[in-house]
Assembly symmetry: C2
Homo-oligomer: 465 residues x 2
């Protein structure tokens, strides 16, 4: 390919007066009375298009003056310093090859005007052509690359935990069934139940809700692992924070306690936010201008501030004594609501805060029991402007304590045999956390709805494209 990405030209990595070719799509066209056309050509490689200055001496100048938003072109010419303001370089075009036109420009859904975010969502296959979704796509990519880099540099192994699971560990609530049975003609057992022995996997199978338990098996051998893959919830939650299909990052670390994993969460978030500030300044300036005024400043603050740390029990005392009226009343034993978390982060600590050691009765069976007999070594990272962003815990590594907890909660030991094996054979203290990737992207970009930070969102009633 002989053309060059527009980001390279705008960054100044190519010498002025070089002959260059760019390929992309028209954003706007402006014709001067003097017989010159200005084309803004975009190729997705950065936020800005490059301006191509096209003289009417070109053979196909008539064709050029018919170009509309979305048409694809190849422009060849000399790279020069721009006379106008706004950008440093432009192209004096020698040739403009029209590659693809737009059928009916008047009805082209992505015509050059401001569209509502809901309208864009209904055109998910075309919306990456817009400023806003293009910027989201680049920032999302930047974050995902930074996550892989962060863990890789620290010796973590990426593990692909299974998407389809027949494990009884996960609990079937709000899970999607995966099946190849003929729905019109279901096989039945003698008792008249569905005979899942006839199904593809020989038993009931579902889409995973978390890679954690599988991840623990690999942490118990490789020491430091992480997952980064899709997870699923069949929740009928029509909110701006829920998707039926979303990506999770789940590190799991052997020989790590709750403090270690809280530090890891802090280091990781700061690392990936710094990557965005360093690498995607162009897109972040757009978000700060159009979407969320503090998009850049709040990331800068996040990176600079030490996280606060507070025990759940102390957090409850703070909330009880703060004089603020909450919709959900606070007392020891309740789960913290978003309003409580945000008060702690935004008003009390004025910083991201790690809340630790939650009541065991509101937490999962696998979290490590504390000495007090009432709490478990769980933690949430709560940040100003978003609330909970990470949830994690130290895992119960003591077989007898785990077994007692399973029994207390009415869970069956037999269903957890492979998970219990990790405690039978060279058990180690270990900890991990989960990060919902779309919530992270929504936080960084200031986009109000997770449906706008994943390419093709899946929600109740919607699996289009």
């Amino acid at each position: 390919m002989s053309h060059i990405a527009i980001t390279e030209l705008l960054k100044g990595t190519v010498a002025v007066d070089s002959q260059v070719t760019v390929k992309g799509w028209i954003r706007t066209r402006r014709d001067s009375k003097a017989g010159i056309s200005f084309l803004a050509v975009h190729d997705g490689s950065c936020f800005n298009p490059i301006q191509a200055v096209v003289p009417n001496s070109l053979n196909n100048y008539d064709e050029v003056t018919n170009l509309t938003a979305g048409c694809s072109v190849s422009v060849t010419g000399k790279l020069v310093e721009s006379q106008g303001q706004g950008q440093a370089f432009e192209i004096q075009a020698d040739t403009v090859e029209v590659i693809g036109l737009v059928e009916n420009p008047d009805t082209y859904p992505m015509a050059a005007k401001r569209h509502s975010i809901e309208f864009l969502r209904e055109h998910a296959h075309l919306r990456p052509r817009t400023n806003v979704i293009g910027a989201v796509t680049r920032v999302r990519n930047c974050l995902s690359q930074a996550i892989h880099r962060f863990f890789h540099e620290r010796g973590y192994m990426w593990i692909s935990t299974p998407i389809i699971t027949a494990s009884d560990c996960e609990g079937a609530g709000e899970m999607f069934r995966v099946s190849t049975l003929d729905m019109q003609n279901l096989p039945l057992t003698d008792k008249g139940d569905i005979d899942y022995a006839e199904d593809f996997f020989g038993k009931e199978a579902f889409l995973t809700v978390s890679g954690q338990l599988n991840g623990e098996t690999y942490a118990s051998a490789m020491s430091k692992i992480y997952t980064f893959g899709p997870t699923f919830r069949a929740e009928n939650s029509n909110t701006s924070r829920h998707l039926a299909e979303f990506w999770m990052v789940e590190p799991e670390v052997a020989f790590a306690d709750l403090e270690d994993i809280a530090s890891l969460a802090e280091d990781m978030l700061k690392y990936v936010f710094k990557a965005v500030l360093d690498e995607r300044r162009d897109d972040m300036e757009f978000f700060a201008q159009r979407i969320e005024k503090t998009a850049i400043s709040r990331l800068e603050e996040f990176v600079e501030k030490d996280f606060a740390q507070v025990d759940y029990t102390d957090a409850i005392t703070i909330l009880e004594n703060c004089g603020k009226k909450f919709e959900f009343p606070v007392e020891w034993g309740v789960d913290l609501q978003s309003e409580h978390e945000r008060y702690l982060a935004e008003e009390h600590f004025k910083a991201p805060v790690v809340i630790k050691n939650y009541p065991r009765d509101i937490k999962a069976f696998y979290m490590r029991q504390n000495e007090d007999g009432k709490t478990v070594a769980a933690m949430d990272v709560v940040a100003p402007g978003i609330g909970e962003i990470i949830g994690g815990s130290q895992r119960e590594e003591r077989l007898d304590v785990l077994d007692a907890r399973l029994e207390e909660m009415g869970l069956h030991k037999e269903d957890y045999s492979w998970y219990r094996d990790l405690r039978k054979y060279g058990t180690v203290p270990h900890s991990g956390f989960g990060l919902g990737f779309e919530r992270l992207v929504a936080y960084v970009t200031g986009m109000g709805n997770v449906r706008d930070v994943i390419a093709f969102p899946r929600t109740k009633g919607n699996a289009n494209y």
Copy 2:
């Protein structure tokens, strides 16, 4: 965490005579008559364990001499140059803290002896503790990191194409259904059919078989994208090359033709193989010794050699005239079988070979029609020792040609409306390929079965863990 990864010690990044702590699992223990025990401690960070030399002067020396394979320990002591052969450094232990024992060492499934690969597969939660699966895990991680790095360095955006799809484009053959309907009590329409309007997504939904078509929408805006995510086939294929759930890498490139994408495939494979040779020499030496003699040499050759290129039509002529008897007879129009591909790569070209321009009747509707009216711009990369490793094509960007092909193949235009939109609005020549990630890992490691290169394989009748 105050301990250090064993790979750092064995690489020599820590000064001799430093006081260090390592945490890991016992591989072997040997006691000398002189009252010294030698512990091989492994933490998954590299192929080799480190040796800890434990004198009988330790308070808990009795405990140390009871350690068995798989027990977890923390060892603190002085890093010294090793007297023995095999490795450069060892630890003179001051303290050995026993963290977790192995219940019934005699029946511990991962006791220190050679296990069959089938036995390991039945203990997928413990098998990463073995030499072979540990090495596979590190090489798999190295390959996946290298894939992300390769594309990121070249300006490609990682896109998470959807896992759940209700799109009619993919064709429902061999797909898994995703549903939340109550199987015991299915809703029916007036006509007595299953009423999928009642299902979670409001229509039939399946697990994706490829991210390509979705990827094309983003390539038509961002220019260069790739996917790296799970894909699914409900095939009843009980072979060493098939999984029901596997990971695919699918770059899609605007303004790229078949030659461009063939070059991209060559560059990518060489880049990731070079990463393995540079970064995982320890594991590759194990594979060369125990699994596949040529594991290292064939990668080295692959990296050095230029790929051969041949048209399908010429490949057929070569095969017809080679004097070799094939199980599947060859003539123009047939799809190439593994035996044909391997003959071309291993015996004729003695190099990886790109086979191009296949008969259109054996290829998918979206591949670009060539001028000859008989072939399409498709390509496969075929390598010695494995056969097909990559399949790709230039996509049909001309709406009229695409529509004619859909009609010829009995497909309905209406089902492809969003895909056709990409051709209506600023269409561009574009190309992409697909790489099955597990087949890549199997090739690199020499492992004979893809079930042994993914953590928890899913196949017909098996979705355990």
